[in-house]
């Protein structure tokens, strides 16, 4: 069996180009971009923390001043009550000690003229 002679030739249009170039597909942002992104992200976070700390300080100031504004009113009320109890205790002391000569009811145990609150109370 004879085969007709046919010379082996390149395909019409020639061989395709040899793929010698490196094939490196895009695999996401580069290191520097990621670093910059993380830095920005964290920077914003720290900025918010800073702002939040300033805000916390102001909230604390607000709370403190609300209490400061209420102090005189509450203290006045407490003072009236304390005075009332003091006077009642004094009356009781006078009544109990009326037979003891030389007893001064309500006399401070200190020479100091400064006000010293009672250390103890009598619970009725």
């Amino acid at each position: 069996m004879s085969v007709p002679y046919r010379q082996d030739l390149p395909p019409p249009g020639g061989f395709e180009a040899i793929k010698y170039k490196r094939n490196l597909p895009f695999k996401g942002p580069s290191g520097i971009v990621m670093l910059a992104g993380v830095t920005l992200f964290c920077g914003y976070g720290f900025y918010r923390v800073g702002q939040g700390n300033l805000e916390k300080r102001e909230l604390k100031r607000e709370k403190t001043w609300a209490r400061i504004h209420l102090v005189p009113m509450l203290l006045a009320e407490g003072d009236r009550d304390a005075y009332r109890r003091q006077q009642a205790a004094l009356e009781r002391e006078k009544e109990i000690m009326k037979d003891v000569p030389g007893w001064e009811a309500g006399k401070s145990v200190y020479h100091d003229k400064k006000h010293v609150p009672r250390e103890s109370i009598v619970v009725l």
Binding site: R48, Q51, G52, E55, K56, E58, L59, R61, E62, K63, W65, A66, R67, I68, H69, L70, V71, P72, M73, L75, A76, E77, G78, D79, R80, A82, Y83, R84, R85, Q86, Q87, A88, A89, E91, K114, H115, P117, S120, I121, V123, L124
Partner: protein, 155 residues
């Protein structure tokens, strides 16, 4: 026989029914609970500034409760006065704000919306402004901030 007991270990409450001596003019106590007081605190501070300062200066003079009874009565009358005025002029806003405080652990930052309504009403009707002494200059005060970082999680 009488025995000694520690006062704070007593089962009986510390109650003394004896009234104030009649020489002391009587004054109705404010009788407001904590949340309405906190809601009204800055208005009490603004409205009763003179009386409050007078009273505190008097207390600085002498800590004896007897020493400042007169100034104390003025302070209490002033506080009662402003709370009555608040209730007369801005009852709805006031109620809303203190109920919000009551429900939110008495934190101002949780109740900015009702607070703004109350501040606006009080400024229009009574001319009182909430001002926090010592706040940074040239910035909105904490209660005037439009988008604060700390706020209610649920709007």
């Amino acid at each position: 026989m009488a025995t000694w007991t520690k006062n704070d270990a007593s089962v009986a409450p510390y109650v003394d029914p004896t009234p104030l001596p009649p020489s002391i003019p009587s004054v109705e106590e404010v009788g407001t609970t904590s949340a309405p007081l906190k809601s009204a605190a800055f208005f009490i501070g603004a409205y009763c500034k003179d009386f409050n300062e007078d009273f505190m200066l008097c207390k600085a003079e002498n800590r004896n409760p007897e020493h400042c009874l007169k100034e104390g009565r003025k302070v209490t009358r002033c506080a009662t006065d402003i709370i009555t005025k608040l209730r007369e002029n801005c009852l709805a806003e006031f109620d809303k704000h203190w109920q919000c405080l009551e429900n939110n652990n008495q934190q101002y930052y949780m109740c900015r919306k009702p607070e703004r309504a109350l501040n606006k009403c009080v400024f229009e009707k009574l001319g009182l402004v909430k001002a926090i002494p010592g706040s940074p200059q040239g910035q909105p005060q904490i209660h005037e901030k439009t988008s604060p970082i700390f706020g209610a999680m649920q709007k």
